[in-house]
Each structure stands twice: as structure tokens, then as C-alpha cells.
């Protein structure tokens, strides 16, 4: 694979990598929206069912992130390709992967903590909402950074494809 300004179309393996990434991101986004809805539903007076919904949504997010991280770590993923072929972007790839791991560790830790509460009725919903809001903000931040990186890495191919789309 070529770097920036060396070639101006996606190869079939890059196109496949983009499709996998899009599917991963759609799945994760659905899970984020589920968790958001659970967090934003009424809590005081129904703490037990609120917490169960939050935990279910957190499980869903964990599965989606697990899949996304596994695909991003694969040798034929876009991130692996960028790290291999574009040394100047390697540090950013490493940063993104570290952030993936950090987010997954946080989810794992929160799940364990919430599931291990002695009584669901004792859930401190304001605290849980705040902590999960931070997690979701970190995830959104990561998505933006990843989009920027992939666009920068495949700049010429993106623009050629967009021009081709527009010409149709």
C-alpha cells in the first residue's frame, strides 16, 4: 500500500478495511445510544430497574467495543496498514490503540463495580451517570481522532473516490 500523495485510489483490501471499520463503528454507535437511553431514563424511585437497564446496555457496549478493538488490532486492519506503511503516523496509531484498551478497561471496571453492588436500590444514579458520561465522551473523542487519522493517511484515495462519486 502507498502513502499520502503516492497513489490515488483505494485498493480492494483498503476498501474492505473501510467497510469493516464502518460496520464496527455503527455497532458501537448503536450500543452507545442504548446506554445513553438507559442512563437518561428516570432513576429515583426505580433504581433497581434503572441499574439493570444500564448494566445490560453496558454489556452490549462491551461486546461492541471488544469486536471493534479486535478488528482494529488485526494485521489487515486500516490502523495496522497505516502503522506499517506510514511511519510518521505510527505514534498516532499507537495512541488510538492505547485509548481503545483504556476504554475497554474502564468499561470492565465499571461493570464489575455496578454488578457487585450489595443492593440495586442503593445505586448512586447521579454518580453513575456522570462516570458513564465521561466514558462516552472519551469514546466519541476517539472516533473523531480515528476519522482524522484515516482521512489523513488515505487523503488522495478519499478525494479521488469522492470526485468519482460526484461525477456519477
Amino acid at each position: 500500500m502507498a502513502g499520502r500523495h503516492e497513489r490515488a485510489r483505494f485498493t480492494s483490501s483498503e476498501r474492505a478495511g473501510l467497510d469493516v471499520r464502518r460496520a464496527d463503528q455503527d455497532r458501537t454507535l448503536d450500543a452507545i445510544h442504548h446506554l445513553e437511553a438507559a442512563l437518561g431514563s428516570a432513576a429515583p424511585g426505580r433504581e433497581g430497574s434503572w441499574l439493570r437497564d444500564v448494566l445490560d446496555a453496558l454489556d452490549l457496549l462491551d461486546e461492541a467495543m471488544n469486536e471493534e478493538q479486535r478488528n482494529a488490532e488485526a494485521v489487515d486492519s486500516l490502523l495496522s496498514d497505516i502503522a506499517r506503511t506510514q511511519p510518521r503516523l505510527r505514534t498516532r496509531v499507537r495512541g488510538l490503540r492505547a485509548q481503545y484498551r483504556h476504554v475497554r478497561d474502564t468499561i470492565e471496571q465499571l461493570r464489575g463495580e455496578l454488578a457487585g453492588r450489595p443492593s440495586e436500590a442503593s445505586a448512586d444514579f447521579a454518580d453513575i451517570r456522570q462516570r458513564l458520561a465521561w466514558l462516552l465522551t472519551a469514546l466519541r473523542h476517539q472516533r473523531g481522532r480515528e476519522s482524522d487519522l484515516i482521512y489523513e493517511a488515505y487523503y488522495d484515495a478519499f478525494n479521488t473516490d469522492i470526485e468519482a462519486e460526484n461525477a456519477r
Binding site: 437511553a37 431514563s41 424511585g45 476519522s147 482521512y151
Partner: protein, 161 residues
């Protein structure tokens, strides 16, 4: 007998008001999601397209929040009803309305700033950060609204999200 009819009419009116509130919340949530999707697309290197998408999505969010505020201000809305019927919750209704109004204003200010800034001189990371803050505030207010309405009516607005 008359009391029963009155009670039924009140229940129907309340259900309709809650349904309107849910529709308004869904519209503003969809608009917020669109803002976030636009903000998370690649920015640096394609600032003109990026800012155009974000600005459009912010405009839709501003409109959705305006409709929500308008519907919430009418006398038979859940918040107006709580304000009248539940004096102990009145302060929370007043605060909630104020915070929603502040938020709408901040959305409008950010959109106006994007209108007035040349895309190529835009700091994408800074705009994303400000959008995150707005989104966090909107979610916080939505949750507080759901808590309040549940406390007053025992109806979970979030079930419609």
C-alpha cells in the same frame, strides 16, 4: 360519576401531553446524534465540508430545542402541569426551563460563530470540545427532566428514547 369522567379526561390529556413531550425529546435527541456524527467525521484537511455539516446539524438541533421549549411552555404540558399541581417541584421546573433556554442559546452562539469563521482558520479540536460540552449538558438536562416527570407522574419519559 362526574368525578370519574373528570379523572378520565385528565388522564387522557396527561397521556397526550406526555406523548408530545416524548416526540419532542426524540426529535432533539436525533438532532444531537446528527451533530455528534458530523463532528466525528474527519475534520483537518476537509474543514469546509466538515463545518458545513456541523453547522447544518447544529441548526437542526437549535430548531428542535425551540419546538421543545415552545411545547413545554403551553399550559397543558407536563412541566406546566407539575408547576401548578406540585408546588414542591416548582423550583425544579423553573430551573429546568432556564437550563434548557441557556443551552439553546449556547447552541445558537456556537452556530453563529461557525457562520462567521473562515473554515480554513477553524480549530476542529476546539469546536469538537465545545460540542461535547453542549451534548453533555443536554443529556444531563434530559435525565433530570425524566427524573422529575417520573417523580410527579410515575411515568418514565426515557422509555420513549
Amino acid at each position: 360519576m362526574d368525578d370519574t369522567i373528570d379523572a378520565t379526561e385528565t388522564d387522557v390529556a396527561r397521556s397526550e401531553a406526555v406523548a408530545t413531550n416524548r416526540t419532542d425529546r426524540k426529535r432533539s435527541l436525533d438532532a444531537l446524534h446528527q451533530v455528534e456524527v458530523s463532528a466525528a467525521t474527519a475534520g483537518p484537511g476537509r474543514e469546509i465540508d466538515w463545518v458545513s455539516d456541523v453547522r447544518g446539524a447544529l441548526g437542526a438541533l437549535e430548531d428542535a430545542l425551540a419546538v421543545q421549549a415552545q411545547n413545554s411552555a403551553v399550559s397543558d404540558s407536563p412541566l406546566s402541569d407539575i408547576e401548578v399541581e406540585e408546588p414542591r417541584l416548582r423550583n425544579r421546573v423553573v430551573q429546568l426551563r432556564q437550563r434548557y433556554a441557556d443551552l439553546r442559546q449556547r447552541v445558537g452562539e456556537l452556530r453563529s460563530q461557525l457562520d462567521a469563521t473562515a473554515p480554513l482558520s477553524l480549530d476542529v479540536a476546539d469546536v469538537r470540545r465545545r460540542l461535547e460540552a453542549l451534548a453533555g449538558e443536554l443529556r444531563y438536562q434530559r435525565a433530570r427532566e425524566a427524573d422529575l416527570i417520573y417523580e410527579a407522574y410515575t411515568v418514565d419519559l426515557g422509555a420513549g428514547d
